[in-house]
Amino acid sequence: MSNLNLSGKDILRFLVQHYDFVQMAFLSGKPDFVIEQDRFQTLVDEYNTTNDSKITVSKLFDLKFCRQLTSGEYKINGNYSTFLEFIFDDFVLDLPETLKTRYQAIFGNFINLQTEIDENKISLYIQDIVNEVESFLNDIQRQTYRLLRDTESLKVNAENNADLTIRVQKAAYWIDEYIIPLNSVLNKEHPDSIIATIINIQRYASEKRFSVNTFRLKKEFEKLYACVVNANSELDQTIGKLTRELLPLLERIKSDSLILSGFYHFIENIDQPENYIIPLPDLLKKENNSVMSNNFSAVAEFYIDHFNPKNAEVIYLEETEEIEWMPDTSYFKELLLSENGSENFYQWCFDVLQKHTNDIPLSKFFTVSNLILEEDLKAEYLHENRFEIALSDVILKMPKVKVYAISE
C-alpha cells in the first residue's frame, strides 16, 4: 500500500536494506539510468530469490526510486542517480558542452543581477549564481577526478596490440574531447571563459558588498564574493591538475603505447623486411679505409680497371716471314775441297757467296770463312799484304791465305 508520507529516514533505510539491488539497478542503468522493462523485472526477481527482504516494483515507485516511461522502460529518479553516483564514486563523464551550458546560466544570471534593482530579485539571482557556481565546481571536480582515475587505469599493462590500440585511442579521445575543451572553458585569457566571468563577478561583488545600502544585500554580496573567491582558487587547482598532470600523463600514455605498438608490428614482421612500413634507421657501418665517396669510388674503380691484369687477347697477324738465307758450311767445304783448295781463301769465300746472294753481311761471311778452322784443312799465310773485301755491313781488310786439304 502506498505510503504518502515518506520520510528521509524511509529512503535511507531502503538504500541500506536494499543496497545490492540499488547498486545493480544503478550499474544496469548507466549512463542515462534508463532500464528496459524485462531487464528491470529480472533484476527484481533475481534480487528477491537471493535475499530475505523482498522488494516490489510498486514499493520502488512509492519510494520514488524510479518511474515507468510510456515506452515501458524504467527511469531512475535523477535525485537518486546523482546521490548514487556520489555514493558509488562512479560518475559519468559529461561532455564539456554540458559544462558550457552551466557556464551560460551563470553568465545570464550575472547580467540580470547587474541590471536588477529589486532587492528580493537581487537575492534570488545571487542565490542562483551561488548554486550554479557550486554545481559547476562539483561537475569540474568530478570530471577531473574521473579522468585522473581512468587515466591511471589506462596505464595498466597491455597484453596485446589490441589493448595498445585502445590505449592510444582512449588517450587521444580524452585529450581531444575533454582536456582541450575543458582547458578552453577554463582559459583565463579567453574573455568568454568561465574564469573570466567569475573574475568579473568577484570584482562586482567586492565593490557591491561595500556600496549597497541595506544590511541584507551586503550579506548577500558577501556570500557571493566568498563563493566566487573560493571558485577561483578551486578552478586554479583544477586547471593545474588538467594541464600539469592529466594532459602530460595522457600524452605520455599515448606516446608510450605508440612505441609499444610500433615495436609490436616490427616484431610481427621481423622476417618480412618487405613488410616494414617504415625503413630501419640507416646507421653507418664502420668501413676500414673508407676515404672516398661512392661517386669518387665509382670513378676510381673505372680508372683502375684499366690497369687490372687481364688475359691478353692473342691476335695472330699473318705476315710473310722472310727466312734469312744462311750458308751451308758443309756445302762450301765440299766445294772448296772439290776445287783443291784456294790460293786466296777469303776472296774465294766472298766470290762463292756472291754466287748465292748479293747481300753478304759479316755473319754470312764468317759462316763460310770459319772453314779455315776445320782440322782437316790447312791455312798458309803467303805474305803480309792485305786486301779489302766490301761486305754489306762492313769492309774487311784480309790477308791472302792459301787453304787446302791436308793430304793423308
Partner: protein
C-alpha cells in the same frame, strides 16, 4: 669551411659508425652544423643527422646490418619491461640495467626464439658492440642507453602512426 681542432676526431668517430652524444665534440658539430652536413655529403656521400642531443651518420649504401638486431632487442626489452609492470620508457631513457638480469629477462620472453638467432644471443659481445657505437654505456655489470636511443623509439612511433593511418 674552417676546420676546428677536433675535426679529425669528429670525422673518425662518425665514420666509425659512432653516435656523438652531448659533449664538447657534439657542441663543435652543432656550431658548424651546416658546414659539417655539407662536408660529409660532398666528401663521402653520407647524411649527417644532428639531433637535439646527438649526431650520427646515415647512409643508404653503407648500412650497419646489425641495426635490425638492436631494434629487435629494444622492442623485446620494452615489451618485457611493460609486462613486468615497470615504466619501460623511464627505464630505457633514464635507468641502468643489470646485464645478466636483462639477459635473463629476454630469455624468459616468448620472443626469445627470434632473439636467439641474432647477435643478441652473445649478449656480452652485443653490449660491447653497441657500447662502441655510443648507443649503450657499459659500467661494470650494468649498462644504460644513451640519448641516441630516441632514434629507435621514434622509429617505433612512426611505425605505429603509419599503421593507424593505414587502418583508417
Amino acid at each position: 669551411m674552417q676546420y676546428p681542432n677536433e675535426h679529425k676526431k669528429i670525422v673518425s668517430n662518425l665514420l666509425d659508425g659512432k653516435f656523438i652524444i652531448s659533449s664538447h665534440l657534439f657542441n663543435v658539430i652543432k656550431e658548424q652544423e651546416d658546414d659539417y652536413i655539407e662536408f660529409f655529403k660532398k666528401s663521402y656521400g653520407f647524411d649527417l643527422k644532428v639531433e637535439a642531443d646527438f649526431a650520427y651518420l646515415s647512409s643508404d649504401d653503407v648500412k650497419e646490418t646489425r641495426t635490425r638486431d638492436f631494434v629487435l632487442f629494444l622492442a623485446v626489452l620494452c615489451r618485457e619491461l611493460d609486462y613486468s609492470g615497470k615504466n619501460f620508457r623511464d627505464t630505457v631513457e633514464l635507468g641502468s640495467l643489470d646485464i645478466s638480469e636483462t639477459f635473463e629477462l629476454l630469455k624468459q620472453s616468448s620472443k626469445w626464439e627470434i632473439l636467439e638467432k641474432t647477435t643478441v644471443a652473445d649478449f656480452e659481445k652485443f653490449i660491447t658492440t653497441w657500447t662502441g657505437k655510443n648507443l649503450l654505456m657499459k659500467t661494470g655489470s650494468q649498462f644504460k642507453f644513451t640519448k641516441a636511443v630516441i632514434v629507435f623509439l621514434s622509429f617505433a612511433v612512426n611505425i605505429a602512426n603509419a599503421k593507424i593511418k593505414e587502418e583508417n
